[in-house]
Amino acid sequence: MTEVLRVERLNKRFGGIVVSDNVDLTIARGEILGLIGPNGAGKTSLFNLISGVLRPDSGRIFLNGEPIDRSKLFRRARMGIARTWQHMLLFRTMTVIDNLLVAPRAYPGESILRVTFGLGAVRAADRQARDRAMAILTRMGLEHTAESMVTDLPFGQQKLIGLARTLMNDGPLLLLDEPMAGVEGAAYETIKTVVREEAASGRAVCVVEHNVSFIRDLCSRAVFMANGKILQDGTVEELISSSVLTELYFGV
């Protein structure tokens, strides 16, 4: 098993609230890791720390063996950390395809110099990105929505667009923050299939999700968090059968 992400003794607190308490974690190539725990356990904060939205107080983060904890948010994305957001954060005044087109790891169009003096190359990169974007949309059965404004789509489809935008980043690590929240029907199955395919293609995937059956279907391994701590790391069945955790989480 090749290790893609390694987190070592990661600490982060806001005033009196500890969102990450000595967290150690590894995710391997091709693995789908489930991250579960009650609200406020620090799951999203862990994503924020890994992707670079937050700076840890102490601890280290490695991507493919390289330390990344001092890199800025946008650099980590370029190194190949792709993530989704609980609240999607789509570019709401743009079309679906434009949402995807600004999302590749390298986007030469963000440099005024390249746009001014190398417009040909920028346009070529744009065409390539467009092909990739259409391929991703087609996989999700959304190719017909390419030219729609994102805000005109139903919620479930917006959720898929959020995932599609993240997939434009073809890096080794994929962080999914509650991909299933509020999703039902066809979109549900699509997301499951896509996540499986991404892992099968060799990416390391980490999913925060409250939907236990989704975690059970997809993940061989899961981690239970509460109060910023990782309480248990094991198979999904082990976690569910642990009485302490079920009490903490499911309130049974």
């Binding site: 992707s51 946008f74 570019f91 709401r92 743009m94 434009d98 600004v102 980043n169």
Partner: protein, 288 residues
């Protein structure tokens, strides 16, 4: 005729100012009020170089723009690190502080202003030449800005304005983009300042006050923030209306405040009734 030509030159310069300001606040979403100070930096740099050196005028104007850009990068880089909101107040302080400095330095002519800027072009063709230059530059800057905000760069600008966090987390360097947009906008204002100094041959600190900030802001808001031609409409309208009232031959003590009341009333009405401006699309339709 000379008078009308001067008004036209002034309008063209304000079109440049409003269009570049619109790039910064309308497209870039960068809340700053200090645009007149970058106009001033361009004007004073070009004016001082014209007085004290033998450099060619075109170079002086360009150096004025470079100075404005350098100042804008310093301001943006230091205040954007804190937060986007901080820029608004930082820019205000920057403008007031720099004006105060200009007022107190011997070099810049103090509160009386900088006069005796050499005329460069002399003779009957002077005004027509300046008219052609300013109108040409106004058209060029409006089109250049339109080109910037379309295509791949414009897509990035829109995405950044919509959702900066998600944009950055996709690997886009939002900070650099903001500073670049700010520098381009302020650099263009610097060019306008240089030409202003050469044409009017006189500049004074009073011309770059917060009231001028409000005036340019008004042009952009009225015309339509974040639209390509809104600032043009705004600048034309706001400079043409006072000219129209001039023909009423009111005494100056009534004229000036009346013009002011007309401006401010227009802005207030637009702010509440049509926030998107004359050229803008109603935002409620965009959001639906």
């Amino acid at each position: 005729m000379e008078y009308l030509a001067t008004v036209a030159i002034l309008i063209a310069l304000y079109v440049i100012l409003a269009a570049s300001y619109n790039l910064v606040i309308g497209y870039g979403g960068l809340a700053t009020v200090a645009h007149p100070i970058f106009f001033a930096i361009g004007a004073y740099t070009a004016g001082l170089l014209a007085i004290h050196t033998d450099l060619p005028p075109v170079l002086n104007v360009l150096l004025g723009a470079v100075a404005a850009m350098a100042a804008s990068v310093t301001l943006a880089a230091s205040s954007l690190r804190v937060s986007g909101d901080y820029l608004l107040i930082a820019s205000l302080g920057f403008q007031l502080g720099l004006l105060q400095l200009i007022r107190n330095l011997e070099l810049t002519g103090g509160p009386g202003g900088l006069s005796n800027i050499p005329s460069t072009i002399v003779g009957a063709a002077r005004t027509p030449i300046f008219l052609a230059i300013t109108i040409g530059l106004a058209i060029a800057s409006v089109l250049a800005i339109r080109a910037i905000v379309q295509g791949p760069y414009g897509r990035a600008i829109t995405a950044m304005r919509d959702e900066e966090l998600a944009f950055t987390a996709l690997g886009r360097n939002a900070m650099t983009m903001k500073i670049v947009i700010f520098a381009i906008g302020c650099g263009i204002a610097g060019v306008a300042g240089g030409i202003y100094a050469y044409y009017f041959q006189y500049i004074s600190p009073d011309q770059f006050e917060v009231l001028q900030s409000a005036q340019i802001l008004t042009m952009v808001v009225l015309g339509g923030m974040g639209t390509a031609y809104g600032p043009v409409v705004g600048a034309l309208l706001l400079l043409a209306i006072p000219q129209a009232i001039t023909f009423l031959h009111l005494p100056p003590s009534i004229m000036a405040p009346t013009q002011g009341i007309i401006f401010t009333t227009l802005v207030l009405i637009f702010l509440f009734v049509r926030p998107a401006g004359i050229m803008g699309v109603d935002s409620s339709k965009v959001r639906s």
